[in-house]
């Protein structure tokens, strides 16, 4: 009885046994490349929104996309990154100015040109601020927008930030000490300037 059972077990194993299975899996891993290459990515798609209008959404284009926060859903301007999912009805977006990313349904997208223009301008101003590194040189005026659009313009402080407290404690106690500190900093700056100039001259001599 036991022998018969073990025999049937061996038979079962032999039926599904394939010595070349590992190699087939290896080849399969390589051959799937051609399939992936042939499938082209969706870059644009026409879609009828819930409001009855016909939209043409493109990768790289702008739109209003929903963003859920604390249970509330609000629409913000965003850039379309990808179009995919089942039946190409899912859209990957990056919100303008805030930088967040999300995957939303295509039927939830819509357009508000004014809000999108405001967000793009705010993001460009943010980039300018980072380049010039002067925080108080930009002042935003809140432009008019529809009530459903978010207020994407953030005001910047109109004055320089206060001096950190520990620097006040380290300030010179009198005019004479302040003059000495100034002379000391000049001396150090001169030393490093000369050192830098010597290194640069040495490079020129070698070349």
């Amino acid at each position: 009885m036991a022998k018969i059972w073990s025999k049937s077990g061996d038979m079962e194993v032999d039926d599904v046994w394939d010595d070349t299975e590992l190699i087939k899996m290896y080849d399969e891993s390589l051959q799937e490349i051609s399939k992936n290459e042939t499938s082209a990515k969706i870059t644009s798609r026409k879609f009828k929104g819930e409001d009855g209008k016909m939209y043409t959404w493109k990768v790289g284009g702008k739109c209003m996309a929903p963003y859920e926060e604390n249970g509330e859903v609000t629409d913000y301007p965003a850039t379309i990154d990808t179009i995919g999912g089942a039946d190409n009805l899912e859209v990957g977006v990056t919100f303008i100015y805030y930088g967040g990313q999300a995957v939303v349904q295509m039927k939830d997208l819509w357009l508000n040109e004014e809000a999108i223009a405001d967000a793009v301008k705010a993001e460009n101003d943010l980039q300018k601020t980072k380049k010039t590194s002067t925080v108080n040189s930009v002042a935003h005026s809140n432009s008019k927008s529809t009530s459903s659009a978010p207020n994407t313009s953030m005001p910047f402080p109109s004055f320089a930030p206060p001096v950190p407290p520990n620097i006040i404690a380290m300030a010179p106690v009198n005019q004479k000490e302040a003059m000495n500190s100034m002379l000391m900093s000049w001396y150090m700056s001169g030393y490093h300037t000369g050192y830098y100039q010597a290194l640069a001259d040495q490079k020129n001599v070698q070349n």
């Binding site: 194993v13 046994w17 394939d18 010595d19 070349t20 299975e21 590992l22 190699i23 899996m25 290896y26 399969e28 891993s29 390589l30 799937e32 490349i33 992936n36 290459e37 010179p172 004479k176 000490e177 003059m179 000495n180 500190s181 002379l183 000391m184 000049w186 001396y187 040495q202």
Partner: protein, 254 residues
Amino acid sequence: MDQEACLGPSDDFEADDVDMTSPAMSAAQYLRQMQAERRGTKNVVRIAQKSPDSTSPEAKKQKQWLESVGYQEVKKIETPSPLIPSEEWRQEKCRKFEETRAKMALKIEKFSPMRIDRLNSPEEEEWHEILLEKCLPEFQDIAGNFLNHTGTPPALRMVFSIPKRHLSQLIEYLVDWSIEEGLNRPIREWIYSLLAVIDLPLVQDVVSALRRLVKECRSLRSELSIDRKSEANEFSLFITIITIFFGQKDLADI
């Protein structure tokens, strides 16, 4: 000097009076120390220029020490961007490899390994002969199914019959052979097969060997032209499996 113009009349002092041994506690004291030090310094200082070709004994010692501890100068390997696979490709290959390992684990549980005497503690040369040069008698009947192999092919029964204690050493041997003989098709298939069955976590020597394999794959892939994408993807498969699945993420494609 500016300092002398400011300090001269109201703060005249002799150089001998300045205490040079203790650090200055105020700016004025520091400036006095600086002036005293400058009076004792020559106006011109000469620095000997070393030619870049000559290596000093210290540099030679440092180079020898670095080589002794296994330091390798990292070449900048830049693969043409069309040959680097996409993120979706990499995740898909990693998921497929994980499925392969799961299938192999199920089969290993049911399989009773064959007793092959030559697989017990052979030397590296003997392993090389078994895997790459001459097929074992037990598997010559199925050798026809493996056209790429002249040695023993990575059949399921063969892979499952290798003792577990030899799997780690065998992967190291295969990586060494790939560096010496080139990463040819039989070696690639054997490495893939052993990676599909080896137990986790890996021992450190295997991790080191796999990292060497990844660097070799990246180097070989960077030499390919843009139109040879299928060959680049073979190297990318190993890079993806080792960097994502086996956790060597610092070597992954960006």
